[in-house]
């Protein structure tokens, strides 16, 4: 019964979508908002990477929402897994793992920061760099599980980075009467110091995402919790 309903629903949906396919302007969509951004994005925002311009300037509110969602998820994971002092049963990694992690840590850190800071110029940005940062901090945990990560410090970084994002937005609110309007000079298109406050926002996003994901992975790893 359940499967029959499923097949019917999926068949119906698939049929609809396939039939509609011939009416949809695939491959030649009506660019409305997109065309305008392509035209003026570089000048108004000053970022060469227009995706970053959309993400942090035009649709900055979405990015704030996205940060909040990740924060909510991390908070809920903490709530679900409990906050007891957990006994980590994993043994110390072998020499190769430990040496490898020592080697990887600074490399990943630099790459992560590079990706974050060049978000407005090249593909990548706060979020992608943040994932790399999280990996940088997670690899040593894999090698030496007992040392773990300081969750207090992580929540501090997380909170302050999020507050910094909103703070930059509020600064614009009071300076120009528009929340999240990019401030500071736009600089020369394509230079590192350009696009006004965008790199700062990117930095905040990167730190927040990095701290959140690192915390998430470590708490999943440590979740040796007993029955509640």
């Amino acid at each position: 019964m359940r499967n029959l309903a499923a097949v019917l629903f999926i068949g119906g949906l698939g049929f609809f979508l396939f039939v509609l396919f011939f009416r949809l302007p695939l491959g030649a969509p009506p660019l409305v908002a997109g065309a305008a951004i392509l035209e003026e994005g570089g000048e108004t925002v000053g970022a060469a990477n227009l995706v970053t311009a959309v993400l942090l300037a035009y649709r900055g509110m979405d990015t704030l929402g996205e940060l909040s969602i990740l924060f909510a998820a991390a908070t809920a994971v903490g709530l679900v897994l409990g906050r007891r002092q957990l006994v980590v049963s994993d043994p110390e990694g072998g020499f190769i793992l430990r040496a490898g992690s020592d080697l990887l840590f600074p490399l990943l850190l630099v790459v992560g920061l590079y990706v974050i800071l060049h978000g407005h110029l090249t593909p990548g940005g706060g979020f992608q760099g943040g994932v790399i940062l999280a990996a940088a901090f997670f690899v040593p945990v894999l090698a030496r599980p007992r040392r773990g990560l300081d969750h207090g410090l992580l929540s501090f970084v997380e909170g302050l980075a999020g507050a910094a994002f909103i703070g930059i937005g509020l600064w614009a609110l009071f300076a120009r009467d528009a929340f999240l309007e990019p401030l500071l000079g736009k600089g020369v298109l394509g230079h590192l110091f350009s696009a006004g406050t965008l790199p700062l926002l990117s930095m905040a996003v990167g730190l927040k995402v990095g701290a959140e994901l690192a915390g998430l992975m470590t708490s999943l790893m440590e979740a040796e919790g007993r029955e509640s």
Partner: protein, 489 residues
């Protein structure tokens, strides 16, 4: 413009800061939430009591509408934004004492911010983001007790909700593919291409997606377990407030784009199914939280039936039913805080806590629609609208509402009689009347509305007039589009 942006942003800021602050001073961290919510209320209340003639429109970051995100605060949106601040203050966990208090407060604040955003945002994808934020925050809050049932209920809710989000996102992708814009007003400027099959499919997907939180029929089987295992405060907020905000998204789409299509018929059909499912399950329910959870599903079916009525009548009826349900259902869940057991175990509760039992009777009467309580007027609005419609489906809806009203009356009276039964050792119930203070306040509000039904009705008509007017919305967001329209009639 501050009333539009700060009620969304300040709770987010506070949520980010609660946990670091809690490490320094628990007191400050605890005070942060109420302070922020009160600030929002102070900012919003003047706009709601004495609404500006023109809606507040705010382009975030000063990026002109189709490029950036727009916040649109007409009377309806401001009313809901106000209700968010008010209800979160009412159902705030004032007592505290949870070992994970900071996390819980952070999630409450995130939920408050997302709810305000849902009321105010005028951008489809931004609405989706706020909707997801509301979903994720509520997952955390529902599983607050950490017991097995709470976790299982959360996971079921999470899977249904995530599936709904995927469908809603597919709908948004289909819309974007056809129009190249996400701005609601711009979608409304030229709705004709969207009224074909592709547009209707997109609408259907979004109805299913956003219908998850609005407790609409196919995807609402998570409701009873979640409301039965979550803390009653959270159930009150989810059933009362968040479900209405999900409905608000669909209302905007209906008014701006899909008013003249088959979409209202879809809603009417789903609404009838929802109302049957909800009320008959409520009739069979054996415990108090699940009874009112199912009854909440039934009421939302009524909301959808109301919104399917054509023209501004439907909007008026829908808003009236939604506001009435917001008031009554939040209050009933406020009572569920202590009355969490089976109906049988609550027999004779009126002996110890007569005030709570009286409140229940008051809300039950309004829910059934006994005159002169507001519930009566809202039901009359819907029934009159359905009678005017005249189609076969509309008459089916009419019959359905009358039938389920009888069912509703039966189970609510049955329970009310049980409450007043004389028994030897009556259940303890509430320890003090502080425990149902929110319900008491809401009951007083209900009585106040009953006594001053005319001014309230006038206010509702003013709200509807703005909310039901497609070209009004478009003109407010795109003044130049309106001028363009006048040139070529």
């Amino acid at each position: 413009m501050l009333p539009l942006i700060l009620p969304v942003v300040l709770p987010l800021l506070a949520a980010f800061l609660v946990m670091p602050l809690a490490r320094m001073s628990a007191l400050i961290a605890r005070a942060l939430g109420p302070i922020v919510l009160t600030t929002s209320l102070v900012l919003l209340l003047p706009c709601c009591l004495d609404p500006p003639a023109q809606p507040l429109v705010l382009a975030i970051g000063n990026f002109a509408p189709p490029l950036g995100i727009v916040f649109y605060g007409d009377r309806l949106a401001l009313l809901f934004a106000n209700a968010v601040a008010l209800f979160f203050l009412l159902f705030w966990d004032w007592r505290g004492g949870n070992p994970q208090q900071a996390r819980q407060d952070a999630l409450m604040l995130l939920l408050a911010a997302s709810a305000t955003g849902l009321a105010l945002s005028g951008d489809l994808f931004n609405l989706y983001v706020f909707y997801e934020l509301a979903a994720v925050a509520s997952f955390g809050l529902v599983s607050l007790s950490g017991t097995g049932p709470a976790l299982v209920a959360t996971v079921r809710y999470l899977l249904v909700s995530a599936f709904g989000s995927v469908l809603a996102l597919a709908g948004i992708a289909l819309l974007y593919l056809q129009t190249g814009t996400l701005n609601l007003a711009q979608l409304g400027i030229d709705p004709e291409p969207l009224q074909g099959p592709a547009g209707l499919l997109a609408f259907g997907l979004m109805v299913i997606g956003f219908g998850v939180k609005a407790e609409l029929f196919p995807l609402n089987y998570w409701v009873p377990e979640v409301y039965a295992s979550a803390p009653a405060r959270i159930s009150a907020l989810l059933a009362g407030l968040i479900s209405k905000l999900a409905v608000l998204i669909l209302l905007r789409l209906l008014v701006l784009v899909y008013g003249d299509t088959a979409a209202p018929q879809i809603l009417l059909f789903l609404g009838i199914l929802t109302i049957f499912f909800g009320e008959f399950s409520a009739w069979r329910a054996q415990d108090f939280p699940r009874m009112i959870a199912f009854s909440s599903i039934g009421q939302l079916g009524l909301v959808f039936i109301a919104f399917s009525l054509s023209g501004s009548w439907g909007v008026l009826a829908g808003i009236a039913v939604a506001l009435h349900h917001l008031l009554v259902k939040s209050a009933l869940f406020g009572l569920a805080h202590r009355w969490s057991g089976s109906l049988q175990a609550l027999t004779g509760s009126a002996q110890r806590t007569p005030l709570a039992a009286a409140l229940f009777v008051l809300f039950a009467l309004s829910l059934i629609g006994v005159p002169p309580l507001p519930g009566f007027w809202t039901k009359i609005l819907v029934l009159a609208g359905l009678a005017q419609e005249g189609s076969a489906l509309a008459f089916t809806g009419l019959g359905a509402i009358l039938l389920v009203t009888a069912v509703e009356a039966h189970y609510l009276f049955r329970f009310a009689l049980q409450l007043y039964e004389k028994v030897e050792n009556a259940p303890a119930g509430f320890r003090s009347f502080w425990e149902f203070l929110p319900s008491l306040l809401l009951g007083a509000a209900l009585l106040a509305v009953t006594l001053r039904i005319n001014p309230v009705a006038d206010r509702l008509r003013a709200i509807t007039q703005q909310a039901a007017d497609r070209s009004f919305y478009i003109t407010q967001v795109f003044p130049q589009a309106a001028a363009h329209r006048k040139d070529q009639p």
